[in-house]
């Protein structure tokens, strides 16, 4: 069964249409339909219960690359990992990468994803120069950043039509290494001053925090592309089946061990780009560690340090609690999530009502502070929260494709 990364909620699709060629591409006559790339959204934004999925994994061809300008044109199903595998050896990097390289270009645009360099580079959509959108009326439109429909499509959750190809501006990097520093900290004040100091000097910053520790200790990671010889990591682990391994005890043990390991590894080291950007990709199917019922991820952005403190004091224990300060860059999409402030993310095993109540408290705190919740990570926010998170929702709705919809959209839009 086709699932999202969080494996909650489950959906049954009336049909899954595999798209393989741009030439002669026709969409189903009857919707509702939704593009589905790699299924790395956590909740239901990539699901279309009762409807159809347009699977784009077969649209995985490069179209052209101009090494002068760094401009790459490729089909929407190409993954960021494939781009990196091909072009890092030629000295180029994807300008914005999320926590996994296994996402498609179409998905990166539709969710206007962000990365550890948001304070410098803004969101993924800011680096998209052109894209082609196929609407259900059969019309294919080539769009650029100045087009309204482009701005609706970036961050548009796949609801404005099917992206068939896109042109992205890649950035030049010296070599495949990252000079990274892992700095242990305790408490929010230290996190805030580290953010302040590091964002000015480093391309990539992010922090991991152990909410179980009384001092709210954590590790602040910062890095830059660097010169130096470094080998790609070998081998990959995988979780072969559902093992519900995440619980209060294992989180406590994991967090203590992770903190200690980072401290031991030393403050400054040279690392290959792959484990620096995508540590979790080292374990295939890690979502199975959350058991058959899946996991709920929560990510919000709040404008002030005070609101961030309030969230942390309410945060239930999670092995992956992550903080990052977003920069001032204006996101290009009408429904783009990144905006100035602090973003806070965590994963929780799905334990039903208890988990939903915990997340409702976090949601309420984010809303009180005038924040927003990230649709790509969400399986439960209310319609009211969605509307408050995205003030340009009305403007966006005018650009919806009438034959496109998703489980998420039907849940949050009335």
């Amino acid at each position: 069964m086709t699932e999202s990364w969080g494996r909650y909620p489950q959906a049954r699709h009336a049909a899954e249409v595999r798209l393989n060629w741009r030439a002669g591409l026709t969409l189903p006559v009857v919707g509702p339909m939704l593009p589905y790339g790699q299924g790395r959204s956590y909740g239901d934004s990539c699901l279309n219960d009762g409807g159809k999925l347009l699977r784009t994994a077969g649209l995985d061809r490069f179209i052209s690359f101009d090494a002068e300008s760094g401009s790459l044109r490729c089909e929407a199903g190409v993954t960021l990992g494939e781009i990196l595998r091909l072009l890092v050896p030629r000295g180029f990097f994807v300008p914005v990468v999320p926590g996994t390289k296994h996402v498609s270009v179409g998905g990166a645009i539709a969710n206007d994803i962000h990365g550890k360099n948001h304070h410098r580079a803004g969101s993924f959509g800011a680096h998209v120069r052109k894209l082609e959108l196929l609407r259900s009326d059969g019309e294919a439109q080539e769009l650029g950043p100045d087009d309204q429909l482009f701005q609706a499509t970036v961050g548009g959750l796949g609801l404005t039509g099917l992206i068939t190809w896109a042109e992205i501006a890649l950035r030049r990097i010296p070599v495949a290494a990252v000079r990274m520093e892992a700095i242990p900290f305790a408490g929010m004040d230290e996190f805030l001053s580290l953010s302040e100091e590091s964002d000015a000097e480093f391309e990539y910053t992010v922090a991991w925090v152990d909410v179980l520790s009384r001092l709210q200790r954590g590790v602040f990671f910062r890095g830059d592309h660097a010169a130096g010889a470094i080998h790609a990591p070998r081998g990959q682990a995988a979780v072969p089946l559902d093992v519900p391994a995440v619980n209060a005890l294992t989180v406590r043990v994991f967090n203590a061990a992770y903190y200690a390991a980072q401290k031991l590894a030393g403050r400054s080291r040279l690392q290959h780009w792959d484990p620096f950007f995508f540590p979790l990709d080292g374990v295939a199917h890690w979502n199975r560690l959350y058991g058959r019922r899946g996991l709920l991820q929560f990510q919000c952005v709040v404008p002030t340090p005070e609101a961030l403190r309030a969230l942390l004091s309410e945060a239930p224990p999670s092995p992956l609690t992550v903080l990052k300060r977003f920069g001032p860059a204006r996101s290009p999409g009408m429904l783009s999530f990144p905006r100035p402030g602090f973003t806070f993310a965590l994963d929780l095993p799905n334990r039903g009502e208890e988990t939903f109540a915990q997340l409702a408290r976090l949601e309420a705190l984010a809303m009180e502070a005038g924040g927003a919740i990230y649709p790509a990570k969400d399986a439960r926010m209310s319609a009211e929260t969605f509307a408050r998170s995205f003030p340009r929702l009305g403007e966006f709705s005018a650009h919806l494709d009438p034959a496109f919809s998703s489980s998420f959209w039907r849940r949050v839009h009335r």
């Binding site: 002669g24 061809r61 690359f65």
Partner: protein, 232 residues
């Protein structure tokens, strides 16, 4: 690369392109062929295309191909099951694409190939024993296997190798209608297997992945009285 728009051919071609090889792509659909060529060029290959229906004028095509180091023969149709079993014209068209055209092409090409070159032809485990589910498709691959075996013997000593590549279930547009089981391999996986077999200098029948050899040994060993009652 004959039938260069096939998913398995593309997967192998990507590896060769990233090594900077020169590739000549032959296929019927100009738009699809151009999409594949653009992809392979971006990956680092030097690519030319020839739009040609492989079911026709094989002599004309062979004249344009020159003397490649490797010939990957990848054209093939699986066919619609219900039509395959009822429509003789349709059944014949499957035989033409999967068996007769490859026989014509390889008959013309083989004498032109230089020593050290390699013919790598995509067959299928379906050729190992006829099954109701695959019908004439299996027959076409059985015929191709037999032809390749004869060709391999004939070319011994000439320095030209003949690889019969036999994938099991592969997740491609050709098998879109089949329910996916854990036995399915990805096109990328099979593509890597093809390149490895060519690199290793093999001159034999190669199952992809390798464990299909064991499965097919067992399938072939079943007595006909048992086999004919099976539903797989």
């Amino acid at each position: 690369m004959l039938g260069a728009t096939s998913a398995i051919a593309q997967a192998a071609a990507r590896i060769w392109a990233e090594r900077g090889e020169e590739l000549l792509l032959v296929g019927r659909d100009p738009q699809k062929l151009e999409a594949v060529a653009a992809d392979l060029r971006t990956r680092g290959g030097t690519v030319e295309t020839v739009v040609h229906d492989l079911d026709r004028d094989q002599a004309g095509l062979v004249g344009r191909v020159g003397a490649p180091d490797v010939v990957l023969l990848a054209q093939g149709v699986f066919g619609d099951a219900s039509r395959r079993d009822r429509d003789p014209e349709y059944a014949e068209s499957i035989l033409r694409t999967n068996l007769i055209s490859p026989v014509r092409l390889l008959t013309l090409l083989a004498p032109a190939l230089p020593p050290g070159s390699c013919i790598a032809a995509l067959s299928s485990v379906a050729g190992d024993r006829g099954r109701a589910r695959v019908g004439v498709y299996g027959a076409s691959k059985a015929g191709l296997d037999s032809f390749l075996s004869a060709l391999r013997q004939r070319l011994q000593g000439s320095g030209v190798r003949v690889l019969a590549l036999k994938p099991g279930f592969v997740d491609t547009p050709m098998t879109a209608s089949l329910p996916k089981t854990p036995l399915f391999a990805s096109a990328a996986q099979v593509g890597r297997g093809i390149v490895r077999a060519v690199d290793m200098g093999r001159d034999a029948v190669v199952y992809l992945p390798w464990w299909w050899r064991l499965i097919m040994l067992a399938v072939k060993a079943l007595p006909e009285g048992v086999f004919k009652r099976l539903k797989f």
